[in-house]
Amino acid sequence: MSSTLISNYFREANLPHIWCPGCSNGIVTRALVKAIDELGLDKNKVTVVSGIGCSSRAPGYLDFNTLHTTHGRALAFATGLKLANPDLEVIVITGDGDVSAIGGNHLIHAARRNINITTIVFNNNIYGMTGGQYSPTTPTHALGTTAPHGNIDKPFDITQLAAAAGATYAARTTSYHVNQLIKYIKKGIENKGFSLIEAASICPTYYGRKNKSGSAVKMMEFLRDNYIDIKAYDKLPDDKKIGKETMGEFKEITLPEYTDEYLRLIENLKGAEK
């Protein structure tokens, strides 16, 4: 028994999913499906690729072409799929560790190429699948099982990283602000080029317990109360910025898309001597 949206786009036989109580992965996955539904995409063309980690289990639940690859490599597999068949609507589901640690190189290069792939980052600031180790987005001083004395690393801003590397659409919101998330995902898919949408997410089981963040509800409230639109944030006096996080659309430009350019190259060589 499920909603029309779930029964239309999910492999219901594989539900309920494996995610912990209060994990926001389900919220973000549903938001993606809602965006796909609102855009009226052809299910047979939608291809969802993931790496390894909690969020990367999402494709197994989705009734599209789905590919669960190796750790960090989703964007590289996805690049092959998209170039080989540009008619596919390629969407990558990934986590903060998957996309910015082991897969960081693939992220910046997919962005640089401006290949028409939409990447949804489920950023819960922790390695959940392996039990709560700190990731490249774990805040400084936060705790993880491999940062038992507090994290001395500085975190990445994945959205700004993608924007700087050449993504033509880069936006961040949270798993609390779901309508905004759906809107951003739709814009990302519609953007002809590389898009990255970061969903600030919650992991009550590992991040939350370790850092005494409270229940899933408390963590959702934190997202609601501390994420501020980038334009409003910029106007705040410095002392009001402390402890606040930014969300919003960080980049939205138009540039030539990689597979289009390749097809043009093929077209230009037609009739020429091999």
Binding site: T47, L81, D87, I108
Partner: protein, 377 residues
Amino acid sequence: MSKNIKLMQGNEACIEAALMVGMRFYAGYPITPSTELAELSAEKLPYYGGKFIQMEDEIAGIAAAIGGSLAGLKSMTATSGPGFSLKQENIGYAMIAEVPLVIVNVQRGGPSTGLPTSPAQGDIMQAKWGTHGDHPVIALSPESVPETFELTIRAFNLAEKYRTPVMLLTDEIVGHMREKIEIPAIEEIEIFNRLKPIEGKEYLPYKIEEGDIVPRMASYGEGYRYHVTGLFHDETGFPSNSSENAELMLNHLMSKVEDNLDDIITYEEYMIEDAEFLIVAYGSTSRTARSAVKILRQEGIKVGMFRPITIWPSPEKRLREISKNIKNILVAEMNLGQYVYEIQRIVKSNSEVYHIGRANGEVLMPSEIVTKVKEVL
């Protein structure tokens, strides 16, 4: 019709053959001495409507090639020692997900950066055991430019037929030397294309239809909407943790190769009819070994050569049979002793097994093999 005779490098012959057998996707990363494979693919593929992409690293090269294959194109990547090491995890992925793919390794001196411009045969055991876990491996090793052409065709056909990555283990000598080659007409080439789902029948992506060796393969985007994962999975393609299922799957992965050895394995026997002494050599070293056989024969020594062309799976049955009549076997290879262990395992107590090899970037000379044979005798 006039014959199409050319003077070509091994790496050139590889791409020539790949294009003829239908390779339409290449993803890789530049590495000596395999770079010509990428350069020629970049130049030629667009004329065929095919796609070339230079990825950001070796791992991405094989990952994108697997993606290309899932989208329905015959795909290839190429590399050398350090890149072969980096690709190992995704080689395992292609094996468990049963994705057809050709991986060319133009071997160079190692370990590590080693001797980038010198030949070696040091990745023989890595080809077999480099990726973790149990898995079947098909690896072919050409000794010449024409054979590089022939084995590239074979590599694609085996990859498509058995839905598995196939390795072409050449080396810097075979990759870079120029030889005369007669390019066959396209209609003379046997081409095997992966079997597609039976229309109108329910499609389970990892179910093997009666009479088939491997599951039929739909391309992404054709409407089948199936799941591919590197986890153990059942016929549906979805992950399964059950040990019974894992065993079934592993049995299938192993047996699709082991039950078809006669189709997969090829080898050459050179002057072995009356031989009392056998040299085993493969790839470019077999050229040295062949010369040594000729020299020794002129001196009246009854020596022959056995050359595995399919390195993995090894030509075990035939070599064991031959070894019954052979007292001494010398394995010649450009490493400090790798395939020799496989030969020892195969011949057991039938023959004494000796080794000659080096890994300093210098090829073995016929005279060295001759001397070694005489030493043993």
